[in-house]
């Protein structure tokens, strides 16, 4: 998407945001906008570039509705959004992870207790150990994701002279395949650990309750036929044996 934006001669979203301050990317942090006032990032893009309505729509989609990034900087969020688009793309089967807000889900997880290792034993000494002994790094999930993104971006820069999000869909998929197959040996974080965490977070956000920021409108649940949090089947389990049960999925906030 960024490639296309740039190709049309406009200022890329990230370039713009860098120009005017990253705080603008986080709508929630409106009071720190260098331009003052409470203008949204979208309005600023329009004002600064005079782009078409199409571009505004693009930007709106990219910033996952009216939520802002708490944890990721704009380079990192661009990576995450592009990675989501690659790991679970939007296609004829169903919605993609990016359009369901999974970037916001991951951002919040990284900013919150899980990302900060609130349930991780992090005392040393550190040893690599065997795969059977499990995770042994001194890093929290948020530290690992941050370092891993930087590693992958450096690899992409080296091999493609580009940022990850500016690659074609095919090249992005190839990078992910390289990571998954451990063809790339990342310098800071073990490749498999980083890729595993990225994929875990992606699938979590895609299928978790919508109140966590991803799985917007329960669309991933709808795609597979999971009815969500509104679960009371004592009078249904027998009559619906081997029969389709269809219910509009409900998240926790839809019921409360």
């Amino acid at each position: 998407m960024s490639t296309k934006d740039k190709g049309q001669g406009g200022v890329g979203r990230r370039d713009f945001l860098k120009l005017f301050g990253a705080a603008g990317a986080a709508g929630a942090a409106a009071s720190t906008l260098p331009l003052g006032g409470s203008a949204s990032a979208d309005e600023m893009v329009v004002a600064a570039t005079g782009k078409t309505h199409h571009h505004v729509t693009d930007v709106t989609k990219t910033r996952a509705e009216d939520s802002g990034y708490e944890f990721f900087n704009i380079d990192e969020s661009a990576f995450i959004e592009a990675a989501l688009d690659t790991l679970i793309p939007s296609d004829s089967t169903g919605p993609g992870a990016k359009e369901l807000g999974v970037a916001i889900y991951i951002d919040r997880q990284m900013a919150g207790g899980y990302g900060k290792g609130d349930r991780l034993y992090l005392e040393g000494p550190y040893g690599e150990g065997t795969s059977e002994q499990g995770y042994q790094l001194p890093m929290t999930p948020s530290e690992l994701i941050r370092a891993g993104i930087a590693d992958v971006e450096a690899y992409v820069q080296e091999n493609h002279k580009s940022t990850f999000d500016s690659l074609s869909a095919k090249d992005r998929a190839a990078v992910m395949t390289d990571l998954e197959s451990k063809k790339v040996d990342l310098p800071t974080v073990p490749t498999a650990t980083f890729f595993g965490l990225l994929l875990q977070l992606t699938i979590e956000g895609y299928f978790a309750d919508p109140m966590y920021g991803g799985n917007k409108d329960g669309a991933a649940w709808k795609m597979i036929g999971f009815p969500g949090a509104d679960a009371m089947y004592m009078d249904k389990i027998e009559p619906f044996r081997n029969k389709p049960y269809q219910a509009e999925p409900k998240g926790i906030q839809d019921i409360i």
Binding site: L120, L122, T130, G134, Q136, A173, F207, Y233, E238, K243
Partner: protein, 589 residues
């Protein structure tokens, strides 16, 4: 410096199923009882209410109700040749924390173990001779038989409102129940649950193949129920959010709404939550416990003296406390001596994932933790050990415990892990796949044990407990044989594609397998091979009793909570009617 508190009569460490049962049963003694629980207080309302409890991310993926390993964990290695490293996050098993313990987040499968499980050594030797037992296998009998425990199994089933179908009442075999079970005096307190589609298919397939399927004994109430203590249960909602979750309906039996409130009615009982016991203190003879040292939520250190101390934490927690306190002789595998930490065992799994055509609609999300159909044809000694080439089999079942999509989106082996092809496979398989699983026994071995780690400490400065464990040839053969049987069953169910599964070998602490950690403080008739006598009383320190799955000499092909609960009733009976009348060893050593 610890603040010394006024002495109490009975001190209970950990308030889950066994601590709750003992606290409740001792109420009539009028003794002053204190329970120390490391986690916080919890109740159905407001902690487990619908819809907030139906949150897969928080409870299933992030382990909200479980032990936080940031504070205390274990170290792990597969064998003595390795250096153990910390279990830095939960994975293979999920100990509970907080009032109710793991009894809050269990599935509710409530077995009576098979008669063979109680007398595994003598029945094996009688039938096959000593030679069939591998030289490194510590195969041991329980010090009591199934018949000894039968009334206590019955009592625990009634407390839990277990739903099931008896297969053997007073020696009469009953079709539709488990014909391999030991003789029962009574039918289950509630009828079986409603079978899901996959279970109907499994039952038919098992019968076609000549096996003997029956409904899982489930403490997810199949109907409204009032237990003998007057505690009301609601009918199970089949909501599919059961294991790892609390139950909004009070349908899944849990100590937090059954035995614990009964104990709390006793004015002589006091519960202190957020209180972590660091060690049990002994007197100079090392044969008598005098107190425990614990920290409260603010980190203040207290010494609580007590006449009688019950270790009722999770299996691993109890063994850890024994090791930290120097109670009993720690096991030394090189010398083959010592008992604490000896005979640690686990569970082995595997089976088959069966993929069906799109006309087969399973509605897997309509489920309950203990909802399943099982068969014991290859469990206990219900098959020929010589022909099979291993000892101790497993239950084979088709369970329908829910289909929460973060953790349950099966795809056939060979499917990419991401991308459009992955997504299509998820959609195609989500409601058309079932699993036929083995829950295999794991025997105890010379080389599998628990001890203290020389390097790592918990946040309180204590050494971490170290687990040395791997699957041995006996279990590897069993898992493979059982997986083949599961594949045959899946075929008979009409699967169009079948993936055969065996757990990672060597054993890995990473993927979730089972929270059935057993042994380490086993009960027995011989003090040189057991920590506890038949009443769960420590041989060396008779005013300490230990409950939980740590007492099993080896694991069975069945979930542990049934005998864990039954043995708590058995032990408290002995405490009340024998020990308190004449404190001292109940069995001469």
């Amino acid at each position: 410096m610890a603040t010394k508190l006024n002495a109490v009569d009975v001190l209970i460490v950990g308030l889950g199923w066994t601590g709750g049962i003992i606290a409740k049963e001792l109420a009539s003694t009028k003794l002053k009882i204190v329970a120390l629980e490391r986690g916080g207080p919890r109740d159905t309302n407001p902690d487990f209410i619908d819809p907030q409890i139906h949150d897969e991310l928080r409870y299933a993926a992030r382990h909200d109700l479980m032990q936080n390993v940031r504070r205390e964990t274990i170290t792990f290695r597969n064998s003595e040749s390795q250096t153990a490293l910390p279990m830095r996050q939960l994975g293979s098993f999920l100990p509970g924390q907080g009032v109710g313990g793991a009894g809050v987040h269990w599935n509710g499968v409530t077995w009576r173990w098979l008669e063979w499980d109680h007398q595994a050594r003598s029945r094996t030797v009688d039938k096959y001779g000593e030679k069939i037992i591998p030289s490194d296998m510590h195969l041991q009998d329980w010090p009591i038989t199934y018949d000894d425990l039968e009334p206590y199994y019955d009592k625990f089933e009634k407390t839990c409102g277990t739903s099931g179908k008896a297969g053997n009442i007073n020696g009469r075999k009953i079709d539709g129940g488990n014909i391999f079970e030991g003789s029962r005096k009574n039918e289950y307190p509630n009828p079986p649950m409603i079978a899901a589609q996959s279970m109907v298919m499994f039952e038919k397939a098992a019968r076609n193949l000549g096996y003997h399927p029956f409904p899982n004994p489930s403490s997810n109430a199949s109907r409204d129920y009032v237990n003998p203590d007057g505690v009301a249960f609601g009918q199970c909602h089949y909501c599919g959010f059961c294991e790892r979750f609390g139950c909004e309906a009070n349908a899944k039996a849990s100590p937090h709404f059954t035995v614990i409130p009964m104990a709390l009615k006793n004015p002589n009982f006091e519960l202190r939550t957020n209180s972590i016991v660091l060690k049990v203190n002994l007197d100079s003879t090392r044969k008598k416990a005098v107190s425990v040292t614990y920290l409260d939520a603010r980190g203040r250190e207290f010494e609580q003296p007590a006449d009688l101390i019950i270790l009722a934490a999770y299996a691993l927690g109890n063994v850890n406390l024994l090791l930290q306190s120097g109670i009993g002789v720690p096991y030394d595998p090189a010398m083959g001596k010592g008992v604490v930490g000896r005979n640690y065992a686990y569970q082995c799994g595997g089976g088959a994932t069966a993929f069906f055509d799109k006309k087969t609609i399973l509605n897997r999300f309509m489920g309950a933790g203990a909802l399943g159909t099982c068969m014991d044809d290859f469990n206990g000694d219900n098959y020929d050990f010589v022909k099979a080439g291993y000892i101790g089999g497993g239950g084979i079942s088709c369970s329908n415990s829910g289909a929460r999509p973060i953790q349950s989106h099966p795809t056939p082996r060979g499917t990419p892990r991401w991308g459009s092809e992955w997504k299509k496979a998820v959609v195609d398989s989500y409601d058309h796949a079932a699993s036929v699983g083995n829950q295999g026994a794991v025997m105890a071995y010379r080389q599998n044990y628990l001890s203290l780690d020389p390097t790592y400490t918990d946040v309180f400065g204590r050494p971490l407990m170290r687990m040395t464990f791997d699957f041995q040839d006996n279990e590897i053969k069993q898992m493979n044989a059982q997986a083949d049987i599961c594949v045959t069953l899946a075929k008979e169910m009409g699967a169009i594609k079948i993936d055969r599964n065996v757990p990672p070998i060597p054993y890995s602490i990473v993927p979730y397998q089972s929270t059935h950690n057993t042994g380490g403080a086993v009960f027995g008739a011989d003090p040189s091979t057991s920590v506890l006598n038949k009443y769960l009383q420590v041989w060396d320190v008779p005013n300490v009793f230990v409950t939980g799955a740590c007492v099993f000499p080896q694991n069975a092909g069945k979930n542990p909570t049934g005998p864990v609960g039954a043995l708590a009733y058995w032990a408290v009976d002995a405490i009340k009617n024998q020990y308190l009348k004449n404190p001292g060893p109940l069995v001469p050593s």
